[in-house]
Symmetry: C3
Subunit: 155 residues, 3 copies
């Protein structure tokens, strides 16, 4: 835990959760074509609290923003595992695919996803700038507020 | 039809359907950056029956699980075509993107997608373990229950 | 502006809009693993008009088809920027991920997405043939009718 990115996480007061083991016949990440594909991470905080509910009805924009940030932290936790513990091996956050558990008339998906995008840049600096999409899902697993998958490049 | 994976399909009693030709100006798969991108496959069984309906209302979890399995079989059918018929050239199933045609209060998307994930590992073994996302779509083409796209690595 | 693809855009009477700068801590495109990942582009026409509304309720299929075409034009505008202005460097449109802001009973997502798929082939020829998915989103940013992200290969 002595890398540059680890130090940055410390500065920000962010503790990455232990990456969860596979729950089924899928895995949290795969490496192919020089890219790291991280499975969809849901809005569960490092202390195990699920952020659930429909954005635009049950949850405020602030709640949803925090939910997206939690997904991003969970993506980094998986990326750390993929890097053998050395987050400095992340060359870039390439893409985030963001799904917001939203009502039919919700329109602020980009502001929700900024919770994840800002976290990536706060932690990874310029290497954290990524392409992304932000869309509304009709429903999400366990009624979580946000699910985000990611593609990273590793050194 | 003499490969190792073909033999495994025989053991499982799975007949891959003839991969459908492109219906429009898109194609069922592309190869780039060392990866095979397979277009979204919908829940149609090998005998041409569409599994349709809203999961959480019209369809049970078991129906939806079968629908996801059908999508996975159709992904393999396209991958076989991309491999020139030799499924042993599949180095890995890298990622599945799973969309469930679900009600707003459905929460069991992971159990649905397991129908596809289990099929991949049943057929491809360890090479079948993939990253994935599982989300609820507001609606899907032809009212199918599930649509899944995939990324594979080829040898 | 003297390339082969530029000439083809002229023939088609298509003016690519100026690619919009990043609005947040994400960027319009990234390059990794030999691929160009373009962020989700929404249905805004070259003259700045947003095509908004729920497909299947507020918008006809024709409106939605035009919306998908506008997304594709915006994807090409970002790809041009990524290519340093030289669209002839696009080796292939690899994949489009299509989200339609649709009602729960809408079923014609493929016809909507054809607006984007046809545009890619009209402009890029055989290099424009791509894998894709087409799904219904519960809602989209700013209530736009369509959002599409893209993966391209560059020479």
């Amino acid at each position: 835990m002595s890398g540059r990115i680890d130090a940055r996480l410390d500065e920000l007061g962010i503790v990455l959760p232990k990456a969860l083991p596979p729950a089924a016949n899928y895995v949290p990440f795969t490496l192919a074509g020089g890219l790291l594909f991280v499975a969809g991470q849901v809005s569960v905080t490092a202390d195990g609290r699920r952020i659930v509910g429909k954005v635009g009805a049950d949850l405020t924009l602030e709640d949803a923003h925090e939910a997206a940030r939690a997904c991003a932290i969970n993506l980094l936790a998986q990326a750390r595992l993929a890097c053998g513990g050395d987050l400095d091996r992340i060359a870039a956050c390439v893409k985030l695919g963001g799904f917001v558990n939203a009502t039919a008339d919700f329109t602020d998906h980009p502001k929700v996803l900024n919770g994840a995008s800002d976290l990536m840049v706060d932690v990874l600096g310029e290497k954290g700038r990524h392409a992304r999409f932000a869309v509304g899902a009709a429903s999400l697993p366990f009624n979580v507020a946000v699910e985000i998958d990611g593609v990273f490049a590793l050194d």
